[in-house]
Amino acid sequence: MSAADIAVLGAGMHPWGKWGRSFVEYGRAAARVALADAGLDWTDVQSIVGADTVRSGYPGYVAGATFARALGWQGARVTSVYAACASGAQAIGAARAQILAGLADVVLVVGADAAPKGFFAPAGGERPDDPDWLRFRVLGATNPAYFGLYARRRMAVHGDTPEDFAQVKVKNAAAGVLNPNARYRKAVTAEEVAASAVVADPLRLLDICATSDGGAALVLSSTDFARSRGVTDPVRIRAVSTVTPTYPRTVLDLPDIATDSTVGLGAGGEPAAGSFRASIARAAYEEAGLGPEDLSLAEVYDLSTALELEWYEDIGLCGPGEGAKLLREGVTALGGRVPVNTSGGLSSFGEAVPAQAIAQVCELTWQLRGTAGARQVPGARAGITANQGLFGHGSAVVAVR
């Protein structure tokens, strides 16, 4: 056990879907499931960290306090964080810092969202200083447009095919069928993917993740506190990577209209090797003192089917350009050597932004405990989550048992 470990005492979710209710309800429900899982009362919690949503007005910007109020004010320390899709990892990182600093023994982390139908859109008004507003105003560049650019680039550079992308959906849907918290719980065939409408060439509707309602929560504690509760072998979080990119960023990221320029870097200023996404996982591995060869499973941010293949390479499961080969060999499917997205992934959940990185850790927790039911990875000992938030937010968590 590492001195920097923290324990996961409880994990909980509100099922993903389009429920049409407030994010507060989903977050509160997930929190109560996580607390029950931990065998703790809300009044035992000394600190609450909320992952914010920008889609529900002020209560969403102060999610920590919003969830604390919904659970019933009890005086806990409060923190609210926002980092787009990486908000959940920031929340876990903040909780961990408090625990390791001795500021709190038990911290509740909660994220939830209520998403609109269709494309995510920027905040309203005339806001030409906001890159997220500009990319819609000037280019009409939706999130799937960026996913389409990455997918086409893979096809040209690595020889991936739309059939490869479809097999990611087939794989993740097969896992989602087995997950009671998933929104889509139906097997999908490659023919169904190929028959769905093109959204952003070469990607089709079933290549792209939906936007969903949902909530996820974790009860985190010091390992000493876990032991005092009789939990001697908890799932432990060993690393939380929340790194930023390194200038110059040479891959076009959402919501940018251009990359950084590679001129004028001066002596020793060569662009960093590998992508920002790869640096997110690298930092997590370094902190955890383990590597991709030690993984039993991984949860990665499959905003699109093609992007999942990119993550295989970025988290070091294979070399650059080998993602599709790994998929074709069945390595990343349930029953394979390193199953990826055993939860069913975003493909089966749809994106509930601030809940998503927390939900990834919930899945690791259940897998490492051996309680993942029909989607259990036998003997799971270590897992990584990986994700990237708009505007340069890394998100990766390593959990072990």
Binding site: E126, L134, V138, A141, L149, D256, S261, T262
Partner: protein, 161 residues
């Protein structure tokens, strides 16, 4: 009534084509170029333009950011299209059936950067391939009641489109 021709964002490209249509026989406007800024201290180039500060962490500092035209040609890094109407603030008439447009990410060698833009009208994904040479041209993003919004577009060099 004629619409005003206005750049969708001020200062991002040459505005020679702004204003009323040139009178018949008038001199054609100058070559269309994207405009970025260059730091005088470290030579880093920024697009969209940075006017307040240089973002290179190794810049020695105290530079001035001066406007610089970007390369007129580059190579396709990737491309896609938008088969569904994007949400506001993209300007489009919901009463008119959606016409998909193409987006191209273009690698500019001299600047060492990739810039995203819409393709010129008529250029579809079937007309493009990664690595193909394209050039930047001025074009129309859309129109509302009073304004024709001008923007930059990419099209294959020497192509029919």
């Amino acid at each position: 009534m004629a619409r005003t021709r206005t750049p969708v964002v001020s200062g991002w490209f040459t505005e020679d084509t702004a204003g009323p249509e040139p009178a018949p026989g008038a001199a054609p406007p100058g070559p269309f170029r994207l405009l970025g800024t260059r730091c005088s201290a470290c030579t880093a180039v920024f697009f969209p333009r940075e006017d307040a500060f240089c973002r290179n962490p190794r810049c020695p500092g105290d530079g001035v950011l001066a406007e610089v035209p970007l390369s007129p040609r580059g190579r396709v890094w990737s491309y896609t299209d938008g088969r569904y109407r994007p949400p506001a603030p993209y300007v489009s008439d919901p009463g008119v059936p959606w016409e998909p447009y193409t987006l191209i990410a273009v690698e500019l060698e001299a600047e060492g950067m990739v810039v995203l833009g819409q393709a010129a009208p008529g250029v579809g994904v079937g007309d493009l391939s990664v690595g193909m040479e394209v050039e930047v041209v001025g074009g129309v993003l859309g129109e509302d009641a009073d304004t024709t919004w001008l923007t930059w577009q990419f099209k294959p060099v020497g192509g029919a489109a």
